[in-house]
């Protein structure tokens, strides 16, 4: 596949979900919090484009609002990762070999050493299941990822001539980090952010599948999947649709991430010739 095509397909898929999520703020075909038991388990029809679930809620509307939940959780989680991880990585790189560097990197190792989903379950078990705690749990695991990427690429920049020039000019380490290093690693961070975003969507779905993510009545793809499980033989669409949504969204983001890397990362671009 051409790098360009990959990017556009990925961006297109992601955009569909993003638009659906945005649209759901203003309009959904049906109200997702109102239950209509009389209309439960209806097949696809003009009124209910994708049918209804066991409470008579419109699946399409639930998928739209579910996209909102997924995107919101993943977005904030990536935000936490960037907000904490990038400064830590910059600091560590600026003070390479110092105690600070050691503390930051070993701290990262420590978080990396635990399986992320297990810790997420622990956090939600201690503080109670909610979308907010799911965000926190997923966000914490984004911190070391961003810290590492930032430190690694920042270190290679610190050896370049223009940084040396800036140091000679008397700029402080902090100022150099912000003015010269950060702008030059933004591309990398965007690529990493896209990948982490898709992982966040997956993690949110997993957590709500086991009942630790967004709580009812907030629709969420993972919970839709879990609730449909016992009905998989009688009403397979109930499980297939949210499953497809998760797959399509994650696939889209991954394709977009790969495409962005090809486009933005000079090393990959050069290697491809």
């Amino acid at each position: 596949m051409r790098p360009g095509a990959q990017l556009w397909i990925g961006a297109g898929l992601s955009a569909v979900f993003l638009l659906a999520a945005l649209l759901s703020f203003a309009w959904t075909p049906h109200d997702v919090t109102a239950l209509n038991i009389a209309d439960k388990l209806k097949p696809m029809s003009a009124t209910y484009p994708l049918g209804t679930d066991h409470f008579g809620r419109d699946i399409l509307s639930m998928l739209m609002v579910g996209a909102r939940t997924s995107i919101a959780v993943a977005l904030v989680a990536v935000g936490i990762g960037v907000g904490l991880g990038v400064p830590l990585g910059l600091l560590a790189a600026a003070n390479r070999g110092s105690l600070l560097d050691e503390v930051v990197m070993r701290g990262n190792d420590l978080i990396f050493a635990f399986p992320s989903l297990v810790i997420a379950i622990l956090i939600t078990a201690v503080f109670g299941p909610s979308a907010l705690n799911a965000i926190l749990a997923i966000g914490i695991f984004n911190v070391p990822v961003f810290a590492r990427v930032t430190r690694g690429s920042a270190l290679s920049l610190w050896t370049l001539d223009y940084v040396l020039a800036a140091r000679v000019a008397g700029k402080g380490r902090l100022r150099i980090s912000v003015e010269h290093i950060l702008p030059n690693i933004t591309n990398l961070l965007i690529v990493q952010g896209t990948i982490q975003f898709s992982l966040g969507i997956l993690a949110e779905a997993a957590l709500s599948y086991v009942g630790l993510g967004a709580q009812p009545p907030t629709p969420s793809w993972g919970r839709m999947l879990a609730e449909a499980q016992t009905m998989i033989y009688t009403n397979p669409a109930l499980a297939i649709l949210p499953g497809l949504a998760i797959v399509a969204m994650v696939l889209g983001l991954n394709l977009m991430g790969d495409g962005l890397r090809d486009l933005l990362d000079p090393r990959v671009r050069r290697a491809r010739g």
Binding site: L35, I37, K40, F55, Q215, P217, Q229, T230
Partner: protein, 487 residues
Amino acid sequence: MKQLTLAAVLALTAGIAHAQQDTITLGMVLEPPNLDPTGGAAAAIDEVVYANVFEGLTRFGPDGAVQPALAHSWDVSEDGTVYTFNLNEGVTFHDGTAMEADDVVFSLDRARAEDSTNAQKALFAGIESVEAVDPLTVRVTLAEPNGNFPFNMAWGDAVIVAPESIETAATEPVGTGPFSFSEWVQGDRVTLTRFPDYWGEAPALAEATFKFISDPNAAFAAMMAGDVDAFPNFPAPETLAQFQADSRFKVIVGSTEGETILAMNNVEPPLDDIRLRKAISHAINRQDIIDGAMFGFGTPIGSHFAPHNPDYVDLTGLSGHDPEVAKALVAEVGEVRPLRLMLPPPTYARRGGEIIAAQLREVGIETEITNLEWAQWLEQVFTGKDFDLTIVSHTEPADINIYARPDYYFQYDNPEFQEVIAELGVTADPDRRSELNKAAQKMIAEDYVNAYLFQLAKTGVADARIEGLWENAPTQANDLTAVRWTE
């Protein structure tokens, strides 16, 4: 050669004919915390041991009627205060010791002792003394006449245990029943085997295994794969239609003693206000809950009483679905904080909770749903009373008397009601008992103590070749004495 083949065929068919199955594997949702029915409240204990391992003086039949068990008959004195139980001869415990009047005295004295951990001490509260007249006769003297005493003695909490083995009953129960305990693999299963020296009619089954499967999906898969032969309380009502359509299985739908209620914290504001409790009761659409959460299995109730009971009064009209009335009451009460709705794991609670939350939202009452595991629920809601709303099914038979206990988790405190229950406890006259039962039902319905949702249905799935499983659940039990394979 031909002869040989014939002989082989004969041997084979004979083998098949003899291979009538005499073992069964039953699925249960919850694992019992221990196996001593006289020392724990969990329904799962009785579901394993009642009528199988342990027996009482009397017992419940499949229809809920009180039948003789260890006592083949009993006489009541003129004034109704002295019960003389005549015990069966030749009854032995599984450890070989004889079951005699002394064991009955021990069991009843132990249950009513001050330091007793019996979950239903009220059953024994009226006993003044228990004496062994001779090895086969026990005389129980009551402080006041109690027409319900043989009923009380039929409960799983009133089974007869032996002083020799009671210390280890929690993990190695020794009773007088047709099955003896053989193994408990924690987290997985309990196995019982036929007791060869059983005093009564020997059961058809030689071995029974209770397998604990809490996840509805896993339960469905286990049933489909034949890993379990029967699931008397199947946790996924939405799949019953599929079992019904499959000739390998039969679906057994009956009634239980489970009044499923939306319990409310009667002392904590804002639910100490009867207007708000009434609003909630009117906001709820029972049929929607039964259809949406239980896929149509369940009977609406208007008070804490089982519809199949002859004294039942239909009070659903007192709290019929009427959002307008509910809205008006909410407006009268004014601003209400979001109510915490605590949901234990069963389907009726988790799904019912979502429906109720939506119905309450429609009349302007916001809720915050929290899903709890049973252990958390028992600690926080049942013991800690730290909740606003919760959904639970009370599966004990004739348990309206819990409303006479002000310290019970929903904390309803009405002296008038307590008097009714006290009188009920000492009344033997059936007409008066019926009157009191009806009055009690009406009182708690008019006080809107809780919102009464529906009588839990017993929805079981079994291999089509099994017969003798209870259709209804007059008490929490999986009585295996009459269960057998038909082919």
